[in-house]
């Protein structure tokens, strides 16, 4: 295998100085290199994870026991809102874009992304957007406090002046995402090595291609929603103001027309990651590759047709409710196909359980639990009881934390030896997995119970009947938060050093990045297209 690799990365540095990275801070500011930009995205995502996580700690602290002990209700609402915004737009989405930057070119045998300068720009918008968003916390009126879904008119007529900073920040995030998505599409469609036909692409590339189309389709819708908010607030329009003939429920339709595909933007790349990891550690090819591609595409198409299942209590006509119920529960079919395919990939394999595989297995089990609660939520009449309770909170944290975040962490452990040339510390990685997995279930599983028992979401204080489960949940929350600080230590330790990784890294690993590149890969890889079988 190693004979196919023509030169080592470090030798390349010595031979061609101009191919290496620039020195100092300016390397990162001016970089157009997909690996550097991928690294920047991943670090931004990690910083945002810790920032958003620290707000979750404030939330869990206040909810540790009944009564208001630590923060005021207005500040509590700022915490839940900013936690949601930062985790969705700052942690999960940039992490996936970072992975796309690092992996898509080396998976399809391209020298870089198709539009490298735009790539630099789409990253560097984000730190400014998030600094602006975060700065509202220190302004008069405070940070956004109307929930990450910012329903009008709470976010228009009834919101403080700082909301305009929020609107501008969301616009910037949208621009960044759209540019990133254009780049991914252009790269995948134009820069595949000869022989890398679409149906030979790794599933991570496939899922990202479809995700990129979703991004281009829906981020402008979000931009439209915040622009309408802006004109309602300042330029005398009444899109969402009933007193002026507008419609507050229309805001929700527009928001969720963005918001539901957004949910799949945050999970489709995760499907790609799991489809890469499971075959490697089962030493068996992925079962049903083409059905995986078709399932991903059907999920993406269905995601545009189910948005109003977030709105079963808004007073929709019953025909609308029936349609959205049927369409929603239908999504569990292609999603089920994926889970069945992963399980069948494991069947009669020769499995080992290194850290990436543990995170991937954790993903499959807990994402499926989140899928089950999703099916329950999709049944419109019963959603009357579930809607806006902690049952929903438990549901979407199972799909986003133990789903999306787990896949990102799995991807880190799986590819970091390739990226840095160092193996991570296997023992620490396993501790990280078991610690996180126990903590995250202590954190979120009891939230199903308090939700069913009647605890609404987004409340800073609750009646005494919910006390025990909230305390358990908070303890799990603190433990889970601490586990991610431990993860930071593992990341830094791995970058600084560690056992040298082989070029193939994993015994069962396949794909161009493992078969044709050294670990770490040279700064400019695949300047000549690799042969594709």
């Amino acid at each position: 295998m190693s004979t196919e690799i023509t030169h080592d990365g470090h030798d390349a540095h010595d031979d061609h100085d101009h191919h290496g990275p620039a020195k100092g801070l300016m390397r990162w500011v001016f970089t157009t290199n997909h690996k550097d930009i991928g690294t920047l995205y991943l670090w931004l995502a990690f910083i945002m994870l810790l920032y958003g996580g620290s707000m979750a700690m404030v939330i869990r602290l206040e909810l540790f026991q009944p009564g208001l002990q630590w923060v005021e209700p207005h500040f509590f609402n700022q915490m839940t809102t900013m936690h949601g915004l930062v985790m969705v737009f700052g942690a999960i989405m940039p992490a996936f874009v970072g992975l796309a930057n690092w992996l898509v070119p080396i998976m399809i045998g391209a020298p870089d992304m198709a539009l490298p300068r735009m790539n630099n720009w789409s990253f560097w918008i984000l730190p400014f957007a998030f600094t602006m968003l975060a700065s509202t916390t220190f302004m008069e009126g405070g940070a956004p406090a109307f929930g990450w879904t910012f329903y009008a008119p709470l976010s228009t007529t009834f919101a403080p002046d700082t909301t305009d900073f929020f609107i501008f920040a969301v616009h910037l995030m949208g621009i960044s995402s759209v540019m990133g998505a254009i780049n991914v599409i252009a790269t995948i469609l134009n820069m595949r090595a000869p022989g890398m036909t679409l149906m030979k692409m790794p599933l991570f590339v496939w899922t990202w291609l479809i995700t990129a189309y979703l991004l281009i389709a829906v981020m402008p819708v979000l931009a439209g929603a915040v622009t309408m908010m802006l004109t309602d607030r300042h330029f005398g329009t009444s899109f969402f103001d009933a007193a002026g003939g507008g419609d507050p429920v229309m805001f929700q339709h527009i928001f969720w027309f963005f918001g539901h595909p957004e949910v799949y933007i945050m999970i489709l790349p995760a499907f790609g990651i799991i489809s890469a990891i499971v075959p490697t550690f089962a030493r068996k090819p992925l079962f049903g590759y083409s059905s995986m591609v078709y399932a991903t595409a059907s999920i993406a198409i269905l995601s545009f047709m189910v948005w109003a299942h977030h709105m079963f209590t808004t007073g929709m006509p019953v025909a609308g409710e029936l349609y959205f119920m049927y369409a929603t529960i239908l999504i569990s079919v292609p999603t089920g196909v994926k889970v069945f395919n992963w399980v069948t990939t494991m069947w009669k394999g020769s499995m080992t359980f290194e850290t990436p595989m543990l995170w991937a297995l954790g993903f499959i089990v807990m994402f499926t639990i989140g899928g089950f609660s999703g099916l329950m939520l999709g049944v419109a009449p019963v959603d009357t009881q579930y809607h806006d309770t902690y049952f929903v909170v438990a549901h979407f944290h199972y799909v986003l934390v133990t789903g999306a975040l787990y896949s990102i962490i799995a991807a880190f452990y799986y590819w970091v030896p390739k990226w840095t040339g160092h193996m991570y510390d296997e023992k620490l990685g396993k501790i990280h997995f078991w610690w996180s997995t126990i903590a995250v279930n202590v954190l979120f599983f009891p939230q199903h119970f308090v939700g069913l028992a009647g605890m609404p979401r987004r409340i800073p204080d609750y009646s005494l009947q919910f006390a025990e489960f909230n305390m358990i949940s908070s303890i799990g929350g603190f433990a889970f938060g601490l586990a991610q600080v431990f993860f930071l230590y593992i990341v830094i330790k791995t970058i600084k050093g560690g056992e040298k990784a082989t070029d193939q890294v994993w015994e069962g690993a396949t794909g161009l990045e493992f078969e044709h590149l050294p670990s770490p890969p040279p700064y400019h890889s695949f300047t000549e297209a690799p042969p594709v079988k």
């Binding site: 030493r283 992925l286 196909v337 009669k348 020769s350 297995l361 419109a380 806006d388 009646s463």
Partner: protein, 377 residues
């Protein structure tokens, strides 16, 4: 002797443990799962919930079972050799079609329940209009001309730092909604400001109250009792502090309550025609202020900078009384300040304005009489 003593103690301990366990089992049943409720719809929702839940459990056991089996048996450390199969159209079709059939099995009862749940109009006997207001509920019995506001009870507000021992903390109100059992009650939902959601789990009613819209829902309560709920849609700062209490009683008790409410309203109207002393206005004004104004403008009138203006030293409050009356009575368009003419009676508004002008660090020195409010309406 000693052995006997030990036995007795042991049996006491065991007995105690058993009773504790059974108690917590009873409690756990209540806290772990959805309520079965006290309306026909609530029962239907509960059975539908359990049906989907058990479908999920069965599928989960199968999928995770197969997964666990391969994790245990198809591992390299056990010498498992990897097979190489990776495609089977037959299998893919089977696990697309079988879930589809299961879904149809869920969709059929769900459709029936949904149609029932949405049919609020047919044979409705009593109509109650529910208006969401930041952060309280207004109930209007449209056929009986009875209307009142229900907000979080003072006994909950008093213990907000440490509610230990206050059984219905955050789930108690000053004036509960009283409804008769055995009658189909149609609720109409509306909002004066932002979107709220009226939710009482035992009645299985959760419906958004949206400004500019009227939504409906219904309940036929089967058993008398006190049923508690909360606002379910984030509606601003005190979203967590606008509970709902429904007091379901016999029809006779309900009629008596309605009569009582009517005579109370008549007495309040009579009081509005009298001249009130400064002292009485201030005393009444304080309680009105704390219940209706303090959430935004602060218990001491300090407000929240950037979000809600202060009362202390406010130009409107210490300025001309007419301007002060206007903003309280008619509200301020485009802001969170609502028109209190729809929420409070003349005496309450006069009292709270007098209180604001002569307390909270202000000392204008004048009184505002209920008659002035009547004229301003």
């Amino acid at each position: 002797m000693i052995f006997n003593k030990f036995c007795r103690r042991f049996s006491v301990i065991v007995g105690g443990l058993v009773s504790m366990l059974s108690m917590s089992a009873v409690q756990a049943e209540y806290e772990l799962n959805m309520t079965q409720g006290v309306t026909p719809i609530a029962h239907d929702l509960y059975s539908l919930h359990m049906l989907v839940f058990w479908v999920c459990v069965v599928i989960g056991v199968l999928v995770f079972g197969v997964m666990a089996y391969s994790i245990l048996h198809h591992r390299k450390s056990r010498g498992a050799q990897a097979a190489n199969f990776h495609e089977s159209t037959t299998v893919e079709i089977i696990w697309t079609v079988v879930p589809l059939i299961i879904l149809i099995g869920i969709a059929i009862p769900a459709t029936g329940t949904l149609l029932d749940l949405e049919d609020a109009k047919t044979d409705a006997e009593i109509t109650v209009q529910v208006t969401g207001i930041q952060w309280k509920w207004k109930y209007t019995f449209v056929d009986d001309d009875v209307s009142f506001i229900s907000s979080l009870a003072q006994s909950s507000r008093d213990v907000i730092k440490d509610p230990t021992g206050n059984e219905n903390y955050l789930l108690e109100v000053d004036k509960p909604l009283v409804l008769p059992v055995g009658k189909k009650i149609r609720f109409l939902f509306h909002s004066d400001d932002v979107i709220h959601a009226w939710w009482v789990p035992e009645l299985a009613v959760k419906q958004d109250s949206v400004p500019g819209f009227i939504n409906d829902s219904w309940a036929t309560i089967e058993e008398p009792g006190v049923y508690r709920g909360q606002c379910a849609e984030l509606c601003g700062k005190d979203h967590g502090f606008m509970p709902i209490v429904v007091n379901a009683v016999s029809e006779a008790e309900y009629e008596a309550w309605l009569t009582g409410m009517k005579s109370e309203a008549a007495a309040a109207a009579a009081a509005a025609d009298q001249e009130w002393s400064m002292q009485d206005l201030l005393a009444k004004g304080e309680s009105v202020y704390q219940a209706n104004c303090a959430a935004c403008h602060g218990p001491t009138g300090a407000g929240i900078p950037g979000a809600f203006p202060a009362m202390t030293g406010s130009a409107i409050v210490i300025g001309d009384a007419a301007g002060h009356i206007d903003i309280v009575v008619n509200g301020k368009a485009g802001t969170a300040m609502s028109a209190f003419k729809t929420q409070l009676n003349d005496v309450d508004i006069a009292a709270v304005i007098t209180y604001e002008r002569n307390s909270l660090g202000n000392s204008v020195g004048d009184t505002v009489q209920p008659s002035a409010i009547k004229n301003a309406r």
